[in-house]
């Protein structure tokens, strides 16, 4: 049973592309056949984040317009044999593709792959409508900021209106020390407002910036906390039950000792 998942957020810059890259790579690492689709036509990024930029020959628009076969446009990632990327066109805009064409494309990819992950552009216009057209499931990414949560709320409403019910939530870039000081929305606050199931929480991690610039998703890095969070999310997507990551890394020495002996907390 293959699944088409769209990663969306409404607001830009909350980490849709990073999330797509990490989830896709994570799924490929555990042996699933994965296709990543960049639906952000005109502002493509996923290829850069994946480090596959200079291998693009054909793109998504070429496929839907019939200039090439789908196999020709799919870029195989040499590091992860199960992973393919269908890049977006850079010289066109969102109107180059229609929702019907996207649906057809997703159905074609579905036959080939276990998971098709679509990176949705920011906004609620044509690009969003295209990206969600062929999806069975949606993942909403947000950061613990009022503006991002507001946009996520709007997006969830639009997803429900498009029959994509029960989207899952990824809360990205949370900083536990700020939450503790009361300067950042806590996980509970966000879940309370959005009232959808939480798929995972990803901490704000410098490694993400480094790995994004290098073109190697953080999920591969065993020492990265954010990478661990993404590995857990991947497990949850495949149906495993994994407890939420303990993000309290700033515990003092005494707190760790106490935890060791099972007191305190």
């Amino acid at each position: 049973m293959s699944e088409v998942i769209v990663v969306t957020s409404g607001k830009g810059g909350v980490g849709k592309t990073t999330t797509t890259a990490n989830i896709g790579t994570g799924l490929a690492l555990i042996g699933k056949k994965v296709a990543l689709v960049d639906a952000d036509i005109g502002l493509r990024n996923l290829d850069v984040v994946m480090g596959l930029e200079n291998r693009i020959v054909y793109d998504l628009v070429d496929v839907v317009e019939g200039h090439c076969r789908i196999k020709q446009a799919l870029i195989k990632d040499k590091r992860y044999p199960n992973l393919c990327l269908l890049p977006a066109a850079q010289t066109r805009d969102k109107n180059a593709v229609s929702p019907e064409q996207m649906q057809k494309l997703c159905d074609q990819l579905r036959e080939e792959f276990d998971y098709v992950i679509i990176d949705c552009p920011a906004g609620i216009e044509q690009g969003f409508k295209n990206a969600i057209a062929g999806a069975d499931k949606a993942i909403v990414v947000t950061t613990p900021e009022v503006s991002a949560v507001r946009d996520a709320d709007r997006i969830i409403g639009l997803l429900e209106a498009s029959e994509l019910r029960n989207p899952n939530l990824i809360l990205n870039r949370i900083r536990m020390n700020m939450v503790k000081r009361g300067d950042m929305m806590a996980m509970e606050d966000v879940v309370d407002i959005l009232a959808i199931d939480l798929l995972g929480v990803v901490p704000d991690d410098e490694n993400i910036v480094i790995s994004t610039n290098k073109g190697e998703p953080a999920v591969v890095d065993a020492s990265s906390l954010a990478g661990q969070a993404f590995r857990n999310i991947v497990d949850r997507i495949t149906g495993k039950e994994v407890p939420l990551l303990n993000l309290d890394t700033n515990d003092g020495f005494m707190a760790k000792i106490k935890k060791l002996f099972g007191i305190g907390n």
């Binding site: 507001r150 709320d153 709007r154 969830i156 409403g157 639009l158 429900e160 407002i193």
Partner: protein, 220 residues
């Protein structure tokens, strides 16, 4: 006049109804009641019922006398004397007595999210939250079984008696009739500690928000 029909017993789902003739004088009526209850003594034996008189307006003294006869003549255990006018099953009476208009009410289950809007000319009950940016416009009352963080407009067609009730009242903007109130700009003064159910209503051109309790509801 058939003597038998001056006093009649009738069982209903609410209890026993005693139908009394309104034309004969009270003393004759008492006589008939005495006779009738005596005859039916075995039938009433030990039963526990609630009871009402019907067909004749009785003052308290008369009612007491009739009850005395019934309890003397039978072993009927009268648990409650009810007034047919008060019967809680009678919704028609509630609507007549209510100061609020009782109109058709719509129900909506789910979260009203940013950018979503519900418009109705009737009253509405939302089972869920109204998130910031969500909007509800109703001709009648708005009741939210959840948190109100968006925009609501009750009595949108000009009903100044409309109210808004919510389990957690934190609206961006609250309108009743033609009056608009909004959340204070200084967020520090909003008490986040514990949400209590609150009700907003219009009084002398001002919107008041108060906890839903016995006193507030009495004032409505």
């Amino acid at each position: 006049m058939n003597d038998e029909n001056c006093v009649m017993f009738k069982g209903t789902k609410n209890g026993l109804v005693v139908l009394l003739n309104s034309e004969i004088d009270f003393d004759t009526l008492k006589k008939y009641l005495k006779k009738k209850t005596k005859d039916a003594k075995a039938f009433f034996k030990g039963a526990k019922v609630s009871l009402t008189f019907k067909g004749r307006t009785l003052n308290e003294e008369e009612q007491y006398e009739l009850l005395k006869i019934i309890s003397e003549q039978t072993e009927l255990n009268i648990s409650y004397i009810y007034d047919e006018e008060d019967s809680i099953n009678d919704t028609e009476n509630i609507s007549v007595n209510s100061k609020f208009r009782v109109d058709k009410t719509k129900y909506y289950k789910g979260t009203i999210r940013s950018g979503q809007c519900i418009k109705t000319e009737e009253s509405i009950v939302i089972i869920g939250d109204v998130n910031p940016g969500g909007e509800i416009i109703a001709g009648g009352n708005i009741i939210i079984l959840g948190a109100l963080k968006g925009i609501v407009h009750a009595g949108s067609i000009g009903d100044e008696k409309a109210f808004v009730a919510a389990l957690n009242m934190k609206p961006m903007q609250l309108r009743i009739g033609s009056i608009i109130a909004r959340a204070p700009d200084n967020k520090d003064i909003i008490d986040n500690s514990k949400a209590v159910p609150q009700i907003a209503y219009l009084h002398n051109g001002n919107i008041y928000i108060e906890p839903i309790d016995y006193k507030t509801l009495g004032n409505l």
